[in-house]
């Protein structure tokens, strides 16, 4: 069992956790956007805060759910699902011996599928369902096979990304609190992975529930910045 990991591998584990979670949530949100666009009156340009947050580019050429799909495959947009899956792979490929070929294979499957679907310009989002399934299987495999610092780093990555998306997409504060409680378990177990001053600051900030509920943009940007600086890898 590999118990020693380098700074770079720790970084890859953390980011693999983040991207795997981001990919999973992104696809989930894309399905929502796909659904939302169905109801836009014919001839109108779909627009919502939600689409904007997803970096879904809105223009007069883009009026249907099918057309939205092109953006999932854009290799030049760092926030496209395809890019996120490629980033996942960039990290996972370094980590085969830490996460084992079985966990690694789910990332490989996601990457192969998104490339294939991009090449064939697949326009139906249901065809991407395996990615959701594999990412859930990936996390199941991680839970079965890894432990200690390796598991912790992946899980910390997942939870940070999870919290980040909750804040960004205006989920309720209780969702953030649940996620934060889980992070705190790791702060206790692996304190050297965290910037304690930032941890305290974040804790203080999210106690201001009213600001959160009001979706104050400056406030949210501020806590997002802190959240992204909490982990020291």
């Amino acid at each position: 069992m590999n118990t020693v990991i380098s700074a770079n591998k720790a970084n890859c584990l953390f980011w693999l956790g983040r991207y795997a979670e981001r990919g999973y949530l992104m696809l989930h949100l894309m399905r929502r956007a796909y659904d939302e666009v169905i109801d836009v009156p014919v001839g109108e340009v779909p627009y919502s805060d939600f689409l904007e947050k997803l970096d879904v580019y809105v223009s007069s050429e883009f009026t249907t759910s099918y057309q939205m799909m092109a953006q999932i495959y854009d290799p030049n947009t760092v926030t496209s699902l395809r890019s996120i899956i490629e980033f996942m792979m960039d990290n996972a490929i370094i980590l085969r011996s830490e996460i084992y070929s079985e966990s690694f294979s789910y990332i490989e499957l996601c990457r192969d599928l998104i490339r294939k679907k991009a090449d064939s310009k697949e326009m139906n989002i249901t065809e991407l369902q395996p990615i959701t399934d594999w990412l859930l299987a990936f996390w199941g495999s991680i839970r079965e096979r890894t432990y200690g610092q390796i598991y912790a780093l992946l899980e910390i990555g997942r939870l940070i990304e999870h919290s980040d998306m909750i804040i960004r997409f205006d989920y309720k504060i209780n969702r953030l609190e649940e996620s934060w409680d889980l992070i705190k378990k790791y702060i206790k177990a692996e304190p050297e992975l965290f910037d304690m001053a930032k941890v305290e600051l974040f804790e203080k900030q999210i106690n201001e529930k009213e600001k959160y509920e009001k979706h104050d943009k400056d406030y949210k940007d501020f806590i997002l910045t802190i959240l992204n600086e909490i982990v020291l890898v």
């Binding site: 020693v4 990991i5 770079n8 370094i94 011996s97 084992y100 070929s101 490989e108």
Partner: protein, 438 residues
Amino acid sequence: MNELLSARDSVNKWMERYGVRFGVYKNGVFNEQLFPFDAIPRQIPANEWEMLEKGLIQRVKALNLFLYDIYHDKNIVASGVIPKEFTYESKGYMPECEDITPTKNIYAHIAGIDLVQAKDGRWLILEDNLRIPSGASYPMIARKVTRKACPQTFRDNLIADNRNYGDLLREMMDYINDGRGINVIFTPGRYNSAFFEHSYLAEKTGSVLAFPGEIIVEDGITYYIGLNQKKTRVGAIYRRVSDEYLDPLAFEPSSLLGIPNLMESYKAGNVGVINALGNGVADDKGIYYFVPKMIKYYLNEEPILQNAPTYLPFFKEDFDYILNNIEKLVIKDVAEAGGYGVMFGRDMTKERLEEVKNLIIKEPRRWIAQEVIDFIDLDIIDETGNPSPRKCDLRAFVISGKETKVWKSGLTRFSRNPNSFVVNSSQGGGFKDTWIME
């Protein structure tokens, strides 16, 4: 066999899923390709294998003795068995390794010996690879997958299990490590063509996969640098970085791939380096000619396995023969590997033949010539789904730790085109599993 053929697609899917790839640079762009797997295995009967096993162990033992000799007493040169030009002038010879005795006195821990079977059934040695022979991971993972896809085949046939390669490696690494620290596999990075293998072997041996910059040497001790600069002592390094890049302060100063001052830790006997440094002197195509002589010299035995008939332009008699018969020979550049620098006389134009002759006249030491061996074809299933014959070689892996053992399998590579004799993976082509029958 039907089970194997009908499971072809499912086997290939599983290989894809595990990311069984190798990297290729084409026009400066890195690309990962699947290494095409052919479902029809090469089968080697038990009695034939027994002979191969003995012959391979004998050969690798002699090569290890030669490496010790050449970096210490040099008896084989003094006694005139090998001309000194073929040792001290070889690109693989490293004066820095003089008088260094590697841990447990083993040089070629992992030897990849390339063989072919001639049409008359004889096995002939084509090449020894004593530096960083690659390819074992492919049959290893292919077997893992095919066993699942074709259980009945493996129940009906008595085939030696080859999934123990990781254990063989680990056993050898532990022996070399001697409890001094952790085992690491040192890769030049993820854009190396064999990166899949590096990471898969790390997984299967339970070693840490280390990247450039993650290993340092201090006061003669080698350390892996963990999170928060925590140093963990390294006892054995299975390095997949070639000699000249391994220690930038001893060899190639512009290399950023290496471990600065590794040589000092190695020399002090504080870390095992697998394979040892300086092995290139024993596996270039020039020294190959002398391996049967080494076997006689060091072991006082007759070589069990023969070389392919080879001529050295360095010797007058051979030189004349080569110039007179060049159109039926294959000419190889001793310094090249991986299927590069190989020229078939029969494929060359008159002008080209003259050019090559001049090259040989100019630098006789740089070339060898071999008879073209008519080696057996094995069938593969081609793109159309039909059997089609291909030239195949076999890379056998010989592991030298406490004992010298031959892995009961090997990498059988086949050429991309039906009429090609070049079976190297960097030249296209694919691989087969190799079954040793019990």
